[in-house]
Subunit: 427 residues, 2 copies
């Protein structure tokens, strides 16, 4: 029964029952964490073979004769650019392999634009005002980078097809201070949705007032399907931009962080030849080259993209039951209550939950008091400010199935309690 | 016989003989490279055991329970901070372990000061003028970073004890625009000298006009002795700064690039707790953490600092004969000619050569024409401009002994030819 169809008395009675249940769960002394998009131990175990592919007897020489152990190869070894090219659906020549973190590559791209400007345009540090569009809910670490550089962040609402493109188009066309937009186009963080064909096409056809406007296209979950038979597809953005006559519009990021080991993977940037030349001018001062041995390790471990796809199916086998457990619990507990909605993504690392207005913070706080840590409410919005206080990110990957059951039951319980309390307060 | 004591005729005759020899060497069609400080293959082979220390059966858990395969540990795993602490002679708590390149850490330090300022001081990008002192001859990649950021570089002469401290002291005390100085304090690049105790003490007691002045102390060759019995010692700069009441004066850099594999090692920064907090404010936006698996690999490979010291002796055994060959060749060929001087360092990667004024570029060009690539003359000076045209960096590590013999003979030949030609032109 929907809570908004209950009488005041029914609500009060329901609340009392729920609170008893809550106190029972508190007594369990849980210490569970659904806050970060971290792979679980079983997932990490999948990549332990990485530790064996190179040995003291291995030849660490690339096909082109490069000794991976020594200095050189600013943009990464050819084999790694081919593998990540297949992964990212880009030409290996349009790819730079970086170090262990795509977040670092994104920071770097913002920092470089700030200190030196993009393709000859004024460095952002010399401008009065720089703004970024931030589709919401979005990824807190993206927002943290732009906030750190004093860039004004403007939220843009997301729908089930991606950001509201009419708003994006209008704003970038009218305001030269808008220099970028953060996107997680596939299995989005946190809502789990993927950008529709139309959304991608409209992105590629943006007419920004700023010549140095760039789409920061963080395709973190390109390979991260949960199902074999149902998968989201994304139009490849660099190719689409090229077709649209906007070849330089995008910086595209990806990494193997959630494919092999977080923090010990390889990250990459794909972009147009013009942007590439621009970036290399900086890169050559910043490093002599990234970790080629680790690049080679990845290439030898996967062999080719098919190897990586097979590997990702093993991840999916571990993650699918976790997503389904959370989704089923929510369906069971909240499905008929009318007090929240959530996504049922086909991949990625998150489930997005939307509570009744003004409830998210309180739900997360209640979870915490019973031993379940969620991502702080508001984190999915720039400056941590979710004006409606509705958005909660659920990260089901790290806990065990067993823990996840308790955690998601508790979560639903807290949603119910907080929603009822709010209804009772308002009527 | 000294060339300056020869008669014009003697010089002409000598030049003719030398040119014949040069043409003979040209006919050998050499392709040798003494330009970069790259380890040779034998040196790289020393670290192949690194590829075996972790296997699919390994437990990749740290002493403190951190799973190295997952996210986390912004400043590096404790074990790695202990090992690099021993290597750098610093408290592990004063160390941040970074990725694979100390050059990147230095770039980062300059970039952060440029975008956000140091300890609350005005970001350098907001200042009219920022200057760096550059002891010369010095490291071209240092100078490239400051040049890239539009920082004005002021050369300061080096003597056998380090930079001319009277000049350094005066300049930093008088000019608030001077924000830093590049130092390679031990087995300096390229001269090979180490800073004397007095030099280090005076560095620690600088009284810079700028509150955000920092010494960029690149201790790249701290462990890189050539001899067991004759080694340079360096007063530890952080400790000395603390004693002098200047705890925040230094950023100290090091890496294992020339200990294990260049480009696949681990880099580190050591600095005061104040600076550390300041840096962490940025670092947390820049990355979730560096490659912990590689940190663990290094720790397990060396065991402890004694293991690293033993490992460095093997490097020394390979490099010592190379340095001695070049030095002996120079002694033999140039020792009595009065046309140049060179260092005989006890460690590091380079021999510094000083030609007669106005000869360095021509010597390097002549070497090139006979198939031996040297570091471009002038590279050891800011903006590549060596006003006296005397400084040449010799990098003897990469070529085989056999190649090195030919290369150093050719080098000496070119020094003689160019010096004689110059003398003949001038008289």
């Amino acid at each position: 029964m929907r809570y908004d169809e209950m009488s005041r008395e029914e609500r009060q009675q329901e609340l009392e029952t729920l609170k008893k249940e809550y106190r029972k769960m508190q007594a369990l002394d849980l210490h569970l964490n659904m806050s970060r998009g971290k792979p679980c131990q079983e997932q990490l175990d999948l990549s332990m073979g990485m530790m064996d592919v190179l040995s003291s007897g291995s030849d660490l020489t690339c096909e082109d004769g490069t000794d991976c152990r020594n200095y050189g190869q600013l943009t990464g070894i050819e084999e790694a650019r081919v593998l990540l090219g297949d992964m990212m659906e880009n030409n290996p020549n349009d790819i730079i392999i970086y170090g262990n973190s795509s977040l670092n590559v994104m920071y770097d791209a913002v920092s470089r634009a700030y200190t030196h400007g993009i393709l000859g345009n004024t460095p952002w540090c010399k401008l009065e005002k720089v703004k970024f569009l931030c589709p919401v809910p979005g990824y807190d670490r993206h927002f943290a980078i732009t906030e750190y550089f004093g860039i004004e962040m403007i939220p843009v609402p997301m729908n089930n097809h991606g950001p509201e493109m009419a708003i994006v188009e209008k704003m970038v066309a009218e305001d030269e201070a808008i220099k970028g937009i953060w996107c997680v186009p596939k299995y989005s963080n946190p809502s789990g949705i993927s950008y529709s064909d139309e959304t991608v096409r409209r992105f590629a056809r943006l007419k920004p007032a700023a010549k140095d406007f760039r789409i920061f296209w963080d395709n973190a979950y390109g390979m991260h399907h949960l199902y074999d038979d149902r998968q989201d597809y994304l139009i490849e953005i660099l190719a689409e931009c090229k077709r649209a006559g906007n070849p330089d519009l995008v910086y595209k990021f990806a990494s193997t962080s959630k494919i092999t080991f977080p923090g010990s993977g390889i990250a990459a940037l794909a972009t147009s030849p013009n942007n590439m030349e621009d970036i290399k001018k900086q890169l050559k001062h910043q490093t002599i080259g990234h970790d080629k041995v680790n690049q080679l390790r990845h290439v030898r471990f996967f062999g080719d993209i098919h190897g990586m796809v097979e590997h990702m199916r093993k991840h999916a086998d571990i993650l699918r039951p976790k997503f389904e457990l959370v989704e089923n619990t929510m369906e069971q507990e909240l499905g008929d209550k009318g007090i929240g909605s959530w996504s049922t993504p086909l991949g990625g690392y998150f489930i997005g939950f939307e509570s009744l207005p003004g409830c998210a913070k309180e739900i997360v706080a209640r979870c915490k008091k019973a031993g379940v840590t969620m991502t702080p409410a508001g984190a999915t919005w720039p400056y941590g400010r979710d004006p409606q206080d509705t958005s909660i990110r659920i990260a089901p990957t790290f806990p065990s199935l067993h823990d996840l059951e308790a955690a998601s039951r508790l979560f639903c319980l807290c949603v119910k309690i907080v929603s009822l309390e709010k209804m009772l307060k308002e009527n």
